[in-house]
């Protein structure tokens, strides 16, 4: 085989391996409130099911009051964090089998609430 072709194939193979590795590394990260959505006041967005999340994270494009926490799908919240200014805000210690949630809860809106992304890793 032409050494140049061999080099191209090796490079392609390496690219595939790198891509697969990246996919495997991020496969557990779930986005439950996507960038095309608009967040509503007081509406709880959640992972839509139970998991053992490792962390819960919310990215917001602008500064406003955001809450992330976990709940049991019924009645109880825990692992609660509310903050204005950090981006992202993260709760790294979920404490068990839970729904991840992400909510704009209060405060002064500075512009659009579009492009909020909430994630958890399970």
């Amino acid at each position: 085989m032409n050494p140049k072709h061999l080099l191209v194939r090796a490079a392609a193979l390496a690219a595939v391996v790198v891509a697969l590795s990246a996919t495997a590394a991020s496969a557990t990260i779930q986005t439950y409130f996507g960038p095309a959505w608009t967040q509503q006041y007081g509406v709880r967005y959640d992972s839509g099911g139970y998991n053992y999340p490792n962390w819960n994270r919310a990215y917001r494009p602008l500064w406003y009051y955001e809450t992330i926490h976990y709940w049991d799908g019924c009645c109880t919240s825990w692992g609660f964090k509310r903050n204005y200014d950090e981006n992202p805000i993260v709760w790294p210690n979920p404490g068990g089998y839970a729904w991840s949630t992400c909510m704009y809860s209060d405060g002064d809106i500075q512009g659009s609430l579009d492009d909020v992304t909430c994630q958890f890793d399970a």
Binding site: A25, I29, N54, W55, R57, W63, H69, T76, S77, W78, G79, F80, K81, R82, N83, Y84, D85, E86, N87, P88, I89, V90, W91, P92, N93, G95, G107, D108, Q110, Q119, D121
Partner: protein
Amino acid sequence: MSITNLKRRNWTVLGVVAVFAAVAAVLTSRDSTARATASPVPQPALPAMAAMKNPSLFVTGVPAFLTRLPADMVPTAGSIRKVADRVGRSGITMYIWQVGVTNTICLASPTVGAGCLDAFRRPFDVSITDVDIVGEGDAVVVSGPVTDEVVDIEVTVGGQVGHATIANNFAYYELADATLHPDAVEKVVARLRDGTRFDLGV
């Protein structure tokens, strides 16, 4: 237009400006506790905190807790400062580190959560947290990094004003009653070195 008229007009304009200036001065001096929801100019986070220049706060290695953060947030060894070490009733530990060579900081605690801050839009980056079931177990905590300008944080709960503990640019206040929910925090005010009182608008 005659020179006399021109002079008269100039005096009129000056008079109007003076009246506006006087009204503005009166309005701004009436209450130094003006509700402020954002600093006029955001202060880049890193240089606003003397603790982030303190080499004695560095920890060796990467504490195990920090390795459980999202992978893209895990800090590198040698960059992490511990600004609180098992303080308060719930034993709050707080780590802060610089992100790369930027003025952004990230902070993380096993009990009061984590996040990243590029700039202080208010002098106290306030978080309200509850590590376990809300209304049970450990109490709600009001905490976060503060700028060097902050000399006191007042937290009002049930009409009573309490004061946060501040050390190494980190402030925390634990509610006395663990059955209270986060909404029990009625008001948080930062008092600055120059006497300004900054209502966080919580």
